[in-house]
């Protein structure tokens, strides 16, 4: 952000920007932590990835639970997925972002919220 842009913004807006940036950094760190936990193998981009039932069956248990929840809801935030799986929001956020990196899910930001959905919904 240039000095001119900086001076035009109100302090509250700036704080909001900083908060959004911090949240994004936090999400990326959560993914990095998960990669270290489970190894790199399962994080490779899958060509023509689709979240069909055979793919769900072959997934590691921890990712299947998250992917199944998105399949059922169609579209959800990490917080909404966490409510259903009874796991921590940070954990679900990491798993959801892993599924995005692998190509199984799409992620869209609306304001401060990040929504995850399958390809199926984007075509409807």
């Amino acid at each position: 952000m240039s000095r001119k842009e900086f001076s035009n913004k109100k302090p509250l807006q700036l704080l909001e920007k900083i908060r959004e940036s911090l949240e994004r950094i936090n999400e990326k760190m959560e993914v990095i932590i998960e990669i270290q936990k489970h190894g790199h193998k399962e994080l490779q981009l899958v060509p023509d990835a689709s979240l069909d039932v055979m793919t769900l069956l072959s997934m590691p248990d921890h990712l299947r639970k998250t992917a199944m929840t998105i399949c059922r809801c169609g579209r959800a935030t990490a917080q909404e997925v966490a409510q259903q799986t009874k796991r921590a929001r940070a954990v679900e956020s990491a798993y959801l972002n892993q599924l995005v990196i692998m190509g199984y899910l799409k992620k869209e930001r609306k304001g401060r919220k990040a929504y995850f959905h399958t390809d199926r919904n984007s075509e409807e």
């Binding site: 689709s50 979240l51 069909d52 039932v53 055979m54 769900l56 069956l57 199944m68």
Partner: protein, 263 residues
Amino acid sequence: MKKNMNKIIAVHSYKGGTGKTLLSVNLAASLAKLGKKVGLFDLDFRAPSLFAILNIENADCWLNDYLNGVCDIEKVLFDLSDRIQSNGKLFVAVANPGTEAIRDMSVKDRKWEMQALGMLLSLRNTLLNNQEFDYLVFDTSPGLQYSSINAIVAADYVVVATTGDRSDVDGTRRMLRELYNLFEKKTGLVINKVLDFTSKSKKAEVDERVANLYQVPLLGLVPCFCEILRAEGNLIFVHDKPNHPFTKIMEDMAKRIAASKME
């Protein structure tokens, strides 16, 4: 608030010929006899049979069309409520038995199967929430294939039909471990075509053997009835023979499924 969670019931088995369709039709009819609004779905697209069993002559829209996204589910459902003696309602969605339709369904790709799962999942909203259906019963293809796994994933409860046949026992045990468990599905086992089912002690013995072998809740034991074979699949048995022991067994299963409540 407590509410019944077994709204969508998939009837599945490892092998063919275990009585899935017989159980599906009669379970759906038994639920309807409890005064419920029930939808019965033929998801066995490789060997459709409900249109023949329920004498449905001609359909403008098939369940295939709904999954292909070219027809609303309301146009697929046939009202068969006049075939059961109760206040309940029974609707059926049949699969297209034409050779071309079977061929078409057998060559669908992963993307289509994923969309088909979405269509099945959306029935919860269109039929259960908006049209006040109480139960949907999915009659599936045997074994591990897309259409049946889609049905299992979309269901709340899986009725697993099996027989005493050795080849069936082993495969069913594997499916319980490696399919329903992985999808965290509630299951109820139905042992069909049980022989020598004469005394209470014999029933207790079978109950114990099944509990040890499969380690899942037993939903029901169905003896081998010649009357069912004689009917040649031409009727809704629980409607036509209301006092037959088979009817009592099916009604008991329906009551147990309907009574299952969760917080």
